[in-house]
């Protein structure tokens, strides 16, 4: 009979991860990227825009489930501080904006009327893409919306082209007034795609006036960011290209706006691009077809506590910039605007079947 030998207990396995790999830990460790002061007028513009984004998307969900819109619909709830913070730091109908399949709220922030966006989602002739594009392909040349691009990463080179034109008009065509800046929005999942790296390289190489705005919402459908990338801190990748990189609390519209203002100032001064990583979260599934089974309740609750619209409301009232009643009044106005967009879209004509092949060629 052999004697049992006592084996020393093995130490608990420690998880192999960087101390900052968790999205929420990163958020907690951010230092305030001030100054984040805002005037009453600007504060109300931001509040109105974010509220419009939220209420519009809530209405989309309702209309989708009522069978008024079809296909894949990706809602922006929770990420409003990014769209509003960046786009309102730029010049409407002068600077250029490039979006993804999650593009409704970017379009609204650019100034595309809610009626035109809702009409497009209903597939109507009055839609901003004449019913040809749908939810993932909103375009408006009038509002300098380069479009919603539905394949991952394919909008970034297009945005780079708009930034190139800005520099080309100034330096190759002698137009000193050409100072437009382009913002390209995309998600954390895109930052593992070749077009992201190729365009960062070219933007830095040619000092193009562009903001690469990463809406890092932690999930690429069901792929957690930390499982998809070797270094979860996307903003650090800017250093490899010698460009400015910054991470910002993407649930704080004032912090996003301040970071965007710094980046826009650099871009207009000819100092080139910025990679801006906004730590944010989507409050709904990837699309309205997503069962959303992988994200934990605790995680969702953590981010729900950081609702960017409630945070801005708290800031405005705490600093005496607006009263709760005023904000309520804005919400009522927005609800009316969204309701009007729905009635307009419902009543709008379908595209003319005789025009099925129109818009293929430039002459038509």
């Amino acid at each position: 009979m052999t004697q049992e030998i006592a084996v020393p207990a093995r130490p608990e396995a420690t998880p192999v991860s960087s101390p900052l790999s968790s999205h929420s830990e990163r958020l907690a460790s951010l230092y305030t990227a001030g100054p984040t002061a805002v005037s009453r007028d600007d504060g109300l513009i931001l509040y109105r825009d974010m509220t419009l984004g939220r209420r519009f998307e809530d209405k989309c969900a309702e209309m989708y489930y009522r069978g008024k819109m079809f296909g894949f619909v990706h809602l922006y709830n929770g990420q409003e501080a990014v769209s509003t913070g960046v786009i309102k730091a730029m010049r409407a109908q002068h600077d250029w904006f490039c979006s993804t399949y999650r593009d409704h709220v970017h379009a609204l922030s650019c100034g595309v009327p809610a009626r035109e966006v809702m009409s497009e989602l209903f597939g109507k002739a009055t839609g901003c893409s004449k019913g040809r594009g749908g939810s993932m392909h909103l375009f408006s040349k009038e509002h300098h919306l380069l479009g919603g691009y539905a394949f991952i990463g394919e909008g970034i080179p297009v945005a780079l082209g708009a930034a190139f034109t800005s520099r080309y008009k100034r330096d190759a065509m002698g137009d000193a007034s050409s100072d437009s800046v382009t913002a390209a929005f995309f998600g954390d999942g895109t930052c593992n795609n070749g077009q992201f790296f190729e365009c960062l390289n070219m933007a830095a190489l040619w000092k193009l006036p562009i903001l690469f705005v990463v809406e890092n919402n932690k999930w690429a459908i069901g792929m957690a960011h930390d499982r998809a990338t070797s270094d979860p801190e996307i903003w650090r990748k800017a250093a490899a290209f010698g460009m400015a990189g910054e991470e910002v609390d993407g649930m704080d519209v004032l912090a996003v706006r301040a970071a965007a203002q710094r980046a826009v100032e650099r871009a207009r001064a000819g100092e080139g691009p910025t990679l801006l990583e906004c730590l944010t979260y989507r409050f709904r599934g990837h699309s309205l077809a997503d069962p959303d089974e992988l994200r934990s309740e605790a995680e969702k609750e953590f981010w729900a506590q950081r609702d960017p619209i409630k945070a801005l409301a708290g800031h405005l009232t705490a600093h005496g910039l607006a009263s709760a009643e005023e904000l309520k009044a804005i919400e009522k106005e927005i609800d009316a605007e969204v309701a009007d967009a729905v009635s307009f879209a419902l009543a709008a004509p379908e595209p003319d079947p005789a025009e099925l092949t129109r818009y293929i060629w430039a002459e038509d």
Binding site: G127, G147, A159, R167, D171, A172, M202, L205, A362
Partner: protein
């Protein structure tokens, strides 16, 4: 009239259009300081500067997408594929954004771009450098496809492509750059959508494009001696096809052969013969013929390579038998 090499005809076209329109610019690998791999942009960098003749990193999909964005915001970029085969890497931007974006945007944007470069089978360049992407890109909506074959049409078509407000895929041929002929002086254009009737004839219509035009000319010379009167048509426009010119010819000859360098399956001839069957069925006295490359990756070995693509003797044989009714 001046004796001009094909690559210089292209260069002159780009130079003249750049001089006239400051929004015309060139993007691509080695188009600037190096002057282009086939010297199509030679000296333009010195003349127009580094932004108008932009040397790009080797990132085909991204610089092609950049051209889309530049075109949407007011420029008229010409993208060079150093070898057209490399543009497989830009398939996404060419298809989704060059081809489809204007429609998807409901007419918000136009995409005036030219994507040009050497296509076709060269001399022992191996499979990857011997591709015929005109067939691969043929189904993409919203793009025009042309193939040039002589210094004269190279210059006139390049100028027309640059001025066109739609995306144009512009196929040159790696073995035709040193072709030389007298071309008209100064500014002229050739229509992007018109086939070129190279030789009129009454017995058999031969439809071809790019380098195969020259194989067909050799074959036609021999057929002429044998009393076979061929009508030879260079398609020029691969999308859309010039069905007016094609139908008119078939109404006269009642017999048609397509000679192409692309592979048979899913090739240009496949679509063309389907259209001929739809439009000209009652005019045909014999089944339409296709002479195409083998459905294989182009082999390196010279003898095998020659067996892969159509040779003039095969064209002679097919036309002879088609006329004699001995197919």
């Amino acid at each position: 009239m001046a004796e001009t090499l094909l690559f210089n005809a292209l260069r002159d076209a780009i130079d003249e259009e750049m001089a006239k329109d400051p929004t015309v610019c060139v993007f691509g690998e080695d188009v600037g300081q190096y002057g282009g791999s086939y010297k199509v942009t030679k000296d333009l960098y010195e003349k127009y500067g580094e932004l108008r003749v932009l040397d790009t990193p080797i990132a085909e999909n991204s610089f092609t997408g950049m051209a889309v964005g530049a075109a949407m915001t007011g420029l008229r970029p010409i993208v060079e594929g150093m070898n057209m085969g490399f543009l497989l890497l830009a398939f996404n931007q060419i298809s989704n954004n060059m081809g489809m974006l204007r429609y998807t945007s409901g007419g918000n944007y136009t995409i005036p771009t030219v994507v040009r470069g050497p296509g076709g089978v060269g001399r022992q360049l191996g499979a990857e450098h011997s591709q015929r992407l005109e067939a691969y890109f043929h189904a993409v909506p919203g793009i025009k496809i042309v193939a040039v074959s002589t210094p004269t049409n190279a210059k006139g078509l390049m100028k027309a492509a640059i001025r066109d407000n739609n995306p144009v895929l512009f196929f040159e041929h790696v073995l035709l750059y040193n072709l030389s002929e007298e071309i008209p002086e100064g500014d002229y254009i050739c229509a992007l959508d018109q086939a070129d009737v190279v030789r009129e004839g009454n017995d058999v219509t031969i439809l071809t494009y790019s380098r195969m035009r020259h194989h067909c000319i050799k074959a036609v010379q021999q057929l002429e001696a044998e009393g076979v009167d061929v009508e030879l048509i260079d398609l020029i426009s691969l999308k859309p096809f010039d069905m007016d010119t094609i139908s008119r010819s078939i109404r006269k000859t009642h017999r048609v052969i397509v000679v192409e360098e692309c592979m048979k399956t899913g090739g240009i001839g496949a679509e063309l013969i389907a259209l001929i069957t739809e439009h000209c069925f009652d005019d045909l006295d014999a089944r339409p013929l296709r002479l195409s490359s083998q459905d294989i990756p182009t082999p390196y070995n010279g003898a095998l390579e020659n067996l892969t693509i159509i040779q003039p003797s095969q064209i002679v044989d097919a036309a002879r038998r088609l006329k004699a009714g001995t197919l």
